[in-house]
Amino acid sequence: MKKATIQLGTLACPSCMQKIENAIKSVDGVDKESVKVMFNSSKAKFLFDEGKTSADNVENAITALGYEVKKTQVKDA
């Protein structure tokens, strides 16, 4: 398991949070329970199985929604 922290562009509406949260959860290999989107700091944190997916896949799911990804950090969980 790896832990990823994604810095998003500024989130302005609480429903953006819901959208991004659902999008990250829909990526296979992401631990659904661990997904946390933080509205005020505009960050997403989650755990994922590096055998099944990568942080890039999640980034793509977010950018496909039209949100900006500024920086991604991946660490061992």
């Binding site: 500024t10 302005a12 509406c13 609480p14 429903s15 819901q18 959208k19 659902n22 999008a23 829909s26 933080m38 509205f39 005020n40 700091s41 960050k43 950018t63 929604l65 039209g66």
Partner: protein, 620 residues
């Protein structure tokens, strides 16, 4: 394409504003209805594009968002050929979103300022001994780093060589520079104002004090209270419910106009954004003033606190005993001091340390035959003289006569809360010292402020004897004082208060009172910035600064009030809008959207007031 449109949202907003202006000029100025309609149709289609995309994306991940409501409403207006409404509604929605983003950034500015203080580069010593500039992520524990004047300290570390003055405001909130030299600790994110230092990295990245503070603040501003979770859940079902209501109205009344107006009016914006905005602005304010508030639940509890319970040593007092008063019964006081310091230098008892520190530089003699008398003091041979240092019991044991004057002085010193240290040389009393822990400067004033803020009970609990504790309580105007308390007695006492239905906050240094910190409704730690207490408590006063406490309480009260105001604004606006759509004839979609966006801005602006919150009568 989708992303392109979303990125150009602000241009689209501007263009539709211009188109709407053209439309009204041509209609009112030149009575040209054709251009009026064309311009508005273009404005509607252009304006609705980003909204449609967002609505579609939301539906794809199974969220009925506010964009969905607006899209349907605009489509309805378009279908009714009411281009005026469709254009104005889309424009207001986009413009409102733009303003929201701008103002939201303002409320988050304090925390952003904080994260931007994070160091980005470091000058690291590489294998051949040279120093090169590297990204701060490449620094490992144990690396030797160079910090130059004006640069940020990149990691938590220890000074190896060099001297300098460091501004530690980012950690402690205190901007007076602190002198640093070999062996002293430095913190990441602080700024070296002058001098040059070589440091060894002890903690890097997120493990540094600064990194932990940022992470804590970020988690705190997004942590939710029960009330907020309720609002969240509520809004999740609220938006689909509005959609359903509109459909029912349409089916029953066959009035599309009315149905789509309801869609616009029902948008939940202000309600979901009002509370987080108060939170983030308030927590940001705290972070800037050396107060870490860990989330919204803490704010709610602390704002309603009934009783504040204090630990004495290290909280109300400095936690560092010092010689407060002295009396010499000899003419050659310098020589007495020298003998005294020589003996006490051998001991690591806190009172001995206080005495050595008090006497300072003096001639030191060699000490022989040192004999420590348990519960009494110390006896030794110095320069051929027998020196006895200790309490009254030791003097009696050594048969040192105490005259009336000395006895009166001792009684007076004890009354003031001093521990007594007597010095006798060759069986004759030479000096008396009263040692006590000083009350933190300004604590009395701070406690009065807390009372003014509505705290009913101020209680001190301490392991010291009741006499000393009573004295502190009297001097500071506390309501209750209890001595002889072990850590478990303290937590039992807190439990007792809670059983009486009181909300209790405990203020301690987190060293031996962690059970109390954990048990109290609000645990407030006097954190020196490095303590584990930062992690276990609910509120941290940075740099162990007691004077932040009134600010913290006043701030939480202000935040709690602000949240209530925002909820009232949000709910009130929705109720008024819904009432007027049924009972008045002036309400339409455009006005509804205007009021709706206005209410969102109102709650954000209201929240922004917290950024500049400051205690009344406090200037700094």
């Amino acid at each position: 394409m989708q992303r392109y449109i979303l990125r150009k949202r602000n241009y689209i907003t501007l263009i539709s504003a211009i188109l709407i202006a053209i439309a009204f000029v041509s209609k009112l100025g030149f009575s040209n209805v054709f251009i009026f309609n064309i311009a508005l149709i273009i404005a509607s289609v252009l304006g609705v594009a980003p909204i449609v995309i967002q609505a579609y994306q939301a539906l794809r991940v199974k969220v009925v968002s506010i964009d969905v409501l607006v899209t349907i409403a605009v489509a309805g207006a378009f279908f009714l050929k009411n281009f005026e409404e469709s254009a104005i509604v889309t424009f207001l929605f986009l413009f409102g979103a733009y303003l929201e983003q701008r103002t939201l950034n303002k409320t988050r500015s304090a925390i952003k300022e904080l994260t931007e203080m994070a160091p980005e580069t470091a000058i690291k010593q590489i294998e051949n001994g040279e120093f090169v500039e590297v990204d701060v992520d490449e620094v490992d524990v144990g690396d030797v780093l160079l910090v130059k004047t004006g640069a940020k300290v990149p990691v938590d570390g220890t000074v190896l060589t060099g001297e300098g003055y460091i501004n530690e405001a980012s950690i402690t909130g205190e901007s007076v520079p602190v002198s640093k030299k070999e062996g002293l600790g430095v913190y990441a994110g602080t700024i070296l104002e002058n001098g040059t230092l070589q440091i060894k990295a002890d903690r890097v990245g997120e493990d540094t004090t600064f990194g932990r503070i940022i992470e804590l603040v970020e988690e705190a501003q997004d942590s939710k209270s029960e009330a907020e979770r309720f609002i969240d859940k509520f809004s999740k079902y609220y938006t689909p419910a509005v959609l359903l209501l509109a459909i029912i109205v349409w089916v029953v009344s066959r009035n599309i106009e009315l149905a789509i107006t309801i869609l616009v009016l029902g948008c939940p914006g202000a309600l979901v954004i009002g509370v987080p905005v108060s939170n983030v602005a308030g927590i940001g304010n705290g972070a800037r003033h050396g107060v870490l508030l860990k989330g919204s639940e803490v704010i709610q509890d602390f704002s309603r606190v009934d009783a504040l319970v204090f630990d004495k040593t290290g909280t109300l007092t400095i936690g560092n005993p010092q010689v407060a008063e002295t009396r010499f019964y000899a003419d050659n006081s310098d020589e007495v001091s020298s003998y005294l310091a020589s003996v006490e230098n051998e001991s690591d008892h806190p009172l001995a340390k206080a005495i050595v520190e008090y006497i300072g530089d003096t001639k030191l003699y060699s000490v022989e035959n040192t004999d420590v008398v348990k519960g009494g003091g110390i006896i030794a041979l110095v320069d051929g003289h027998k020196v006895a240092i200790g309490n009254v019991k030791l003097m009696e044991q050594e048969k040192v006569p105490l005259n009336e004057q000395a006895r009166a002085d001792i009684a007076q010193f004890e009354e003031k809360g001093n521990s007594i240290v007597l010095t006798a040389i060759d069986g004759e009393l030479k000096a008396l010292m009263g040692i006590r822990d000083k009350i933190r400067p300004g604590v009395k004033r701070d406690l009065q402020k807390l009372k003014k803020l509505g705290v009913k009970k101020l209680i001190v609990l301490s392991g010291d004897n009741q006499g000393t504790v009573d004295l502190v309580a009297k001097e500071l105007g506390l309501t209750e004082a209890h001595g002889h308390m072990l850590p478990e007695d303290k937590s039992a006492y807190i439990k007792e208060l809670q059983d009486k239905g009181q909300i209790v906050a405990f203020v301690g240094d987190g060293v031996n009172d962690s059970p109390s910190l954990a048990l109290a409704n609000i645990g407030i730690a006097m954190g020196s910035g490095t303590d584990v207490a930062i992690e276990t408590s609910d509120v941290v006063l940075m740099n162990s600064d007691f004077s932040r406490l009134p600010h913290a309480l006043g701030l939480t009260k202000a935040i709690a009030r602000n949240m209530v105001q925002n909820i009232v604004i949000a709910v009130g606006v929705v109720l008024i809008l819904l009432a007027s759509v049924f009972f008045s004839d002036w309400m339409n979609m455009s006005i509804g959207m205007l009021v709706h966006e206005g209410s969102i801005l109102a709650v954000i602006l209201n929240g922004m007031r917290l950024i500049n919150y400051r205690q009344r009568g406090h200037s700094s």
